[in-house]
């Protein structure tokens, strides 16, 4: 059994209005149904952009915010339903390291007082002398001088303060430590020290971590399993190497493609998915899949039905209706969203052809939907001749597109430059080039300048209109 298990945890903050009697006029769906398991001795990384609810989830686990519904099971005990008194004693086993190292330390208490307060509350150490001994040992462990005891938080540097924060969690000998953005307030050089310290302590003390962060590199370094959050729910969960090598959910793909690769050739050539629009308000989340408003692969079904996390590989869970289709290349970016009919049509042709092969009725339905949507888009540059040419190229590059998807995801040191050069050539972005080899000059500048899918499609529209004239 897992050490820490979350079952459909929801945290909804009521929005109140009214002068005398508070009326609840709505809810902020900060955490909206999250289930995950954290194994003992492992590190679970939670990533997601600001406002996606990762911090709230971390706090909900410690019951620092009220849990609306769901279970938080630590070692067989459901914390969510525990009375306050029992919860207080349970807190010894679950500790937290905070984002702001200075803000999380009481400025008017010295280090000894800060560290011994929790011990006193849980009856660790018979007297102050005993506690002081233990605190000294812990301070040494986190790399702080023992003369720190009588000093105050503002007398330390950022990295040292975070070490104090870690020491405060450690003195209670917890099973699980929730690190809420443990290094994001620190300098890069100090970040490495603190991350390594966390690593080391885990090895030595057998700790279990839940690391909440937005820095993908940090999370990758420290985590065994990573969960990606978007607008209050998990969209993907996988062992860390898997997730970075082959992200499956569109949102994760976009996140991963935003990580810069320290190799200019790869960086220039790789396919990047730029998300358009803002994060929707968690007070008014979109229907169906929370991500459909920004997903380049979005389909009508996404608006209606909320996808559940489902297993797609070993330990790899994804909440997307169309993971397989995206992976196999059946579904291309901008099938519906790009406001260019020719492109949409050719995509759909490709899909239809594929459907004929696989005889999947589901795909056929989607293709129909896609057609309906594409017809609805009136703002279009007519280029019939071109659409034919593209149709051909699409069918050719269709099966190969899955290769292109993988290329940007794999790490810089793993992907050789030649691989990267090759892969995007078959990708959807390069279609104008392959369709019209005569026009090499404009096409060559294309991948370097325009990365987002949408700009690309307008570019190709311009291209085609030029040719029409």
């Amino acid at each position: 059994m897992s050490l820490l298990e979350l079952n459909d945890v929801k945290v909804h903050f009521p929005i109140k209005k009214g002068l005398f009697v508070d009326r609840t006029v709505g809810y902020v769906y900060a955490v909206d149904g999250i289930s995950l398991k954290v194994e003992a001795g492992q590190t679970y990384g939670l990533v997601g952009e600001s406002g996606c609810g990762k911090t709230t989830l971390g706090r909900a686990v410690l019951r620092l915010v009220d849990i609306t519904s769901g279970e938080v099971v630590l070692d067989g005990t459901d914390l969510a339903s525990l009375p306050d008194k029992d919860m207080r004693t349970m807190r010894r086993r679950l500790q937290m390291v905070f984002q702001d190292p200075l803000g999380s330390l009481n400025p008017r208490q010295n280090i000894e007082s800060i560290l011994s307060e929790g011990m006193a509350a849980h009856g660790i150490g018979a007297n102050q002398e005993e506690r002081r001994e233990k605190i000294r040992a812990i301070l040494a462990k986190v790399g702080l001088p023992s003369n720190a005891l009588s000093r105050y938080p503002h007398e330390f540097s950022g990295g040292q303060r975070q070490r104090i924060g870690i020491a405060r969690a450690l003195v209670l000998e917890p099973d699980v430590i929730i690190c809420d953005e443990p290094v994001s307030a620190l300098d890069v050089s100090i970040q490495a020290q603190v991350v390594n310290l966390l690593d080391e302590l885990q090895e030595e003390l057998g700790l279990t971590y839940v690391v909440i962060a937005h820095d993908l590199a940090v999370v990758r370094h420290i985590s065994d399993v990573i969960g990606v959050m978007y607008l209050g729910s998990l969209v993907e969960e996988a062992p860390s190497d898997d997730l970075y090598a082959a992200p499956k959910h569109p949102y994760t793909k976009a996140l991963m493609s935003a990580v810069p690769i320290p190799d200019p050739t790869v960086e220039e050539a790789r396919e990047r998915i730029l998300l358009t629009g803002d994060l929707p308000s968690p007070a008014n989340p979109p229907s169906g899949c929370r991500f459909h408003t920004r997903c380049p692969w979005a389909q009508p079904k996404c608006k209606e039905e909320r996808p559940q996390l489902r297993e797609v590989g070993e330990g790899h869970r994804v909440a997307c209706h169309f993971v397989e289709d995206i992976e196999s290349g059946l579904l291309q970016i901008g099938t519906e969203r790009a406001a260019v009919v020719p492109a949409a049509r050719t995509e759909q042709d490709a899909v239809e052809e594929a459907v004929a092969k696989s005889a999947g009725t589901k795909a056929a339905l989607e293709a129909e939907d896609a057609e309906a949507m594409a017809d609805g888009d009136a703002d279009v540059t007519p280029a019939d001749a071109r659409s034919e040419a593209e149709a051909e190229s699409e069918t050719e590059s269709g099966p190969a597109a899955s290769d292109a998807d993988e290329a940007p995801a794999s790490d810089a040191d793993e992907t050789s430059a030649s691989d990267a050069d090759e892969a995007p050539a078959s990708g959807a972005d390069e279609t104008p080039e392959s369709a019209a080899p005569a026009e090499t000059a404009p096409a060559e500048t294309d991948p370097a300048e325009t990365t987002p899918a949408e700009t690309d499609s307008t570019e190709s529209a311009k291209d085609s209109s030029a040719r029409g004239a």
């Binding site: 706090r59 410690l62 937290m96 400025p107 008017r108 007082s113 509350a121 702080l144 080391e200």
Partner: protein
């Protein structure tokens, strides 16, 4: 990186940071005091207050004359406009309408004035702080019920605030009769809502800080979180307010005395009472009013200067 090299690195870092460090830390209070000591405004304010306090303590012994001794002189004839309010003979500040030595009364009166100021400020501070702390604690850590309690307390406090302070003091003094205690209570009650609101607001601000959350996650009892974490960090504005309100308390007590609600005992001089008595003779003997008035103004200025300097010293934004 292997574990051993990492450990070595951390040890080295610990060694480096251990150098050039004193063993005892400087608390924020101590640092604030250090800043206060270097502030000219604070020194002037403190000097004025020190003179005032010394005067209040040893004044009665220093006074050359008794506060009640009537020195009848032929010149002291109010009706003839020959009222003596100018220095002469052994009376530096002159004599009042009853032929008493104004300088002696001024020295002796300092004690009453300080007493009224301090006691009424303490009434306001203690009662206000208790109400504010209860309200603030309920609001930050009391959950939903606590927030309701906080709302009720604060509405009552708001009602108190809505009344003009002098009117409230006059009403209280009118109900309780004319005495020094009445003046103290009246002036103190007026200060209660100010302290209550201030402390509660300050506690609310601290209650949302990360370290309070951290204390909660450590499993520390709520009462202890309030006492060791929230309260110590919420006190600085209250301390500043206490210093500033000493000045207003002295002025308000003087105002009440002036309105005739102060201590009726003529044997006990008080600056406010002296001022009030002097008004009748202002045309003939303006200096009789000027001495106590200047005394009140300078004392109030001293407390205000010190209060402002303390506000600066305790301001976390200036922490360096």
């Amino acid at each position: 990186m292997t574990t051993s090299t990492k450990t070595a690195k951390i040890d080295r870092l610990a060694e480096l940071t251990a150098q050039n460090e004193t063993t005892s830390g400087a608390s924020l209070w101590r640092e604030a005091f250090r800043r206060l000591k270097t502030n000219k405004m604070a020194i002037i304010g403190a000097a004025i207050i020190a003179v005032f306090i010394v005067m209040a303590i040893v004044g009665p012994w220093l006074a050359p004359h008794s506060a009640t001794a009537l020195t009848w002189k032929s010149e002291v004839l109010v009706n003839q406009g020959k009222f003596v309010d100018s220095p002469r003979g052994g009376n530096w500040f002159g004599l009042d309408h009853l032929g008493r030595d104004t300088f002696s009364r001024f020295l002796i009166g300092a004690r009453q004035t300080l007493l009224v100021g301090v006691v009424s400020m303490l009434i306001g501070l203690i009662v206000g702080a208790v109400i504010g702390a209860a309200s603030g604690a309920a609001a930050t850590l009391g959950g939903r019920l606590g927030q309701k309690i906080d709302t009720v307390i604060m509405r009552v406090v708001d009602m108190m605030l809505a009344l003009p302070s002098l009117l409230l003091a006059v009403s209280i003094a009118a109900v309780m009769g004319q005495s020094l205690t009445t003046v103290m209570i009246a002036v103190g009650v007026v200060q209660i809502p100010i302290f209550a609101r201030l402390l509660r607001g300050s506690m609310l601000a601290q209650g949302s800080k990360d370290y309070v959350l951290a204390a909660q996650s450590l499993g520390i009892r709520k009462r202890r979180i309030v006492v060791t974490n929230i309260l110590p960090n919420s006190l600085s504005p209250v301390i500043v307010q206490a210093t500033l309100s000493l000045a207003t308390a002295i002025i308000e007590a003087a105002a009440l005395s002036y309105l005739g609600l102060g201590n009726p005992d003529p044997a006990v001089p008080e600056w406010g009472v002296m001022l009030s008595q002097a008004q009748r003779f202002f045309e003939h003997a303006p200096m009789m009013a000027v001495y106590p008035a200047v005394g009140i103004i300078i004392t109030a200025l001293g407390f205000t200067l010190l209060g402002e300097a303390m506000r600066e010293a305790l301001d976390p934004k200036l922490r360096g």
